[in-house]
């Protein structure tokens, strides 16, 4: 069998490795635009801040590693077209026939059509190339004032990196609060205060209408001109669907796949940022676009190419980040989004400490849990705190993935030791708060 993968990012590279594990003989060919196989795009802000010393570090494996696994790489190569009838991929370096084709074309940074967005000093933060450009600019121009457009995950991680490098930072967000798809306003405002205390400023509900100067010297918001000698555009990503669309595959915001990750052509699969998955809460198709989702889709698609018939499970989009010394963890639906979707919810919220009161060094932690009224299941969580947020979001997410109800959390067993966590965990109390409202 000849398996061709278009895309050498997280999804494509992991697919190739999983497929090789499952079959030693299959021909596996990866066509990639970049010169290397996968690197970790989530790591880019941490390269920028200097926490990861070298950009090259984030390349997960060197090309030789894939060669040893007998994965053929056609790097620096662009797939131009898919001829589904002849089962060939047409690239700028010739035709590549396939038995099974995997689309792992990823996503690209979305850049809104703001006047001046092409000027020197305006960047996105999606690829290694982006980081190289920013680093060269930092070196050359020594900017002092950064404006970040967009208060999503990448925007905030970028803002923190710039702040850690000593720049003044203003974040501008069109919506009403930061991390608008991950957090509700009450929780977002806690994160906001934390970032403001460390010198990051915010403007919400407004848009940058123009970027002035080349190199950039200011941004325009309404009538106001705000000084800026570096602009980061972090207004989300768009799935790369052109190739799929041209090939006549069913495409929505992402490439449409069934639960086995097959596109409308049974010999073509789509995985990673370019493909839609099912949302575990709403049941609707959605773009997950998390690294973990890409890897998990790669695994399932590899199994299905070899006929295992594994269903890709709907996603909760469990996510975590660290901004300065605050951990932020979420999964599932926010209260705001639930209201838009017409889902009745019961919420439990509790502010506690990460350690027992008597143990020195405990840090504040806020837990917000969202339960569906109809079936009492936990369908969302937002946790913000100074430590051990990750463990709590992991626990709640695993519980949610198994359909846990408010009772399951409120009466659930937690692990306690004085240096680590309180006897009655904040997640337990938050669930108890919700449970009382159910009764």
């Amino acid at each position: 069998m000849r398996i061709v993968v278009i895309g050498s990012g997280t999804a494509g590279s992991n697919f190739a490795l999983f497929a090789r594990k499952l079959d030693r003989k299959a021909e596996i060919i990866v066509i990639g635009k970049e010169k290397t196989m996968q690197y970790s795009p989530c790591a880019l802000p941490f390269v920028l801040s200097g926490k990861i010393p070298k950009l090259e570090n984030i390349i997960v494996f060197p090309n030789e590693f894939y060669e040893k696994q007998k994965i053929q790489m056609m790097l620096d190569t662009e797939a131009k077209e898919i001829d589904r009838e002849r089962k060939v991929v047409i690239t700028d370096k010739g035709e590549v026939p396939y038995d099974k084709l995997i689309l792992a074309t990823g996503s690209k940074a979305f850049v809104p059509p703001i006047k001046g967005v092409e000027s020197e000093g305006v960047f996105t933060l999606k690829t290694m190339e982006d980081v190289k450009k920013i680093q060269a600019y930092l070196e050359k121009r020594k900017p002092r004032k950064a404006v970040v457009i967009g208060a999503g995950l990448i925007g905030l991680e970028g803002a923190v990196a710039f702040r850690e490098l000593g720049l003044e930072v203003l974040v501008v967000e069109l919506l009403e609060h930061l991390l608008p798809t991950m957090l509700d306003k009450d929780i977002a405002s806690i994160v906001q205060s934390h970032l403001e205390e460390r010198g990051i400023e915010f403007k919400f509900g407004v848009a940058v209408s123009e970027i002035l100067g080349n190199p950039v010297r200011a941004v325009k918001i309404g009538e106001e001109e705000i000084e800026a000698d570096l602009v980061l555009v972090a207004t989300g990503v768009r799935a790369n669907v052109d190739l799929a669309q041209k090939a006549g595959l069913e495409v929505n915001r992402g490439i449409v796949v069934d639960e086995y990750l097959r596109t409308s052509d049974p010999d073509i699969y789509a995985i990673g940022d370019c493909a839609e998955v099912f949302d575990a809460v709403t049941g609707k198709r959605t773009l997950s676009q998390l690294g973990t989702t890409a890897v998990r889709m790669a695994k399932v698609a590899a199994e299905n190419v070899f006929g295992k018939g594994v269903k890709f499970r709907p996603v909760f989009n469990t996510a975590i980040t660290e901004l300065f010394d605050l951990e932020i963890g979420t999964f599932g639906i926010t209260q705001e989004r639930a209201s838009k979707e017409g889902i009745d919810v019961v919420v439990g919220k509790f502010k506690g400490s990460t350690k027992p009161e008597y143990y020195p060094g405990g840090k504040p932690i806020i837990v917000k849990l969202i339960f569906r009224k109809e079936d009492r299941r936990v369908i969302g969580a937002q946790i913000v705190g100074g430590e051990r947020v990750w463990g709590r979001i992991m626990a709640l997410s695993f519980a949610a993935q198994k359909g846990a109800t408010v009772e399951d959390i409120a009466y659930g067993e937690t692990a306690y030791a004085p240096p680590i966590s309180p006897t009655i965990d904040p997640i337990t109390v938050a669930a108890e708060m919700a449970l009382r409202k159910f009764k």
Copy 2:
């Protein structure tokens, strides 16, 4: 209603507080031998090491707090007998009538009948009084060499505390490895190496036959005399069941209760260390004797006293500790125990890092997962590592509590961010290892 609680420890005190939350008017009377309400016995080793600055800190609430909640306290009082016919508790300070009685009599340190065990310098580590005595002895005698009998949780936490205070420490364990009920030998040996590197010595498969000197100057193991000027006896605890037994209640190793935590007398409940619960893996009655279990039993018993009919769920004994800079988390059954119980298991084990390779500061972590062959469910986990063990054991335990299978873990969503965790989590890989053996 007049509710009488015997025992002012974790279970008794929490019961009183939960009961008060449920009913503002009920008479709630706590009879306790000690002079305070609950303190945290798990915190005692950390008081000893000095990590918790003052012994008094570990008293969870002052007596005034309970007074404000209108909880009547008969402290410094011993319950002598229960007259079930007249529904009265007979104490050394008079009779106390009850409508519902809660036995929260706790457990006591088990001291094996070793010759010399009564000598000066030989201690247990179960109560605040124990810590006071040890601290006075440390002050007065300035011991240099401690022998700890028993390599369970308290033994090891005590050993670490003594080591941190600068003593030489030898731990003697009758069984073949440390934490014998929580870990298998392969995982225990990792913990052992960690402790040995920090100067704690071990002897396994041997017993102390005699304690020599008064004050103690040595212990005898076989023919060998080993110098020791402090001995900690940490050979487990025994449920306090005398009162229940005298009252004619059904008693096994602990007081027998049904799933509503009622004893064989429907007006008497038993909670905490003195009562047996159901083991989630074997289905058998067991003594859990964890602080978290005590609190959870207290909550359920309080609800049931007021007729809510809540079942206490079988326990996985999810537990965590920190020994120097190693976190150790477990739940469920070990492979060794499963073999004794005749349960066929499939094991997945993986050694990885707590962070992605490219991110500085990752620490080794070892995950061992135990699945039941019959239904593919996760029934045990042992994790040892330099950080973020707690989160993984919490996640796996919550999954296990919802009946998660090997597929649920292997295909489960985890939360990833470069400074926090790898894209493919060690628990995912461990589950994949097991899954391959299933197939």
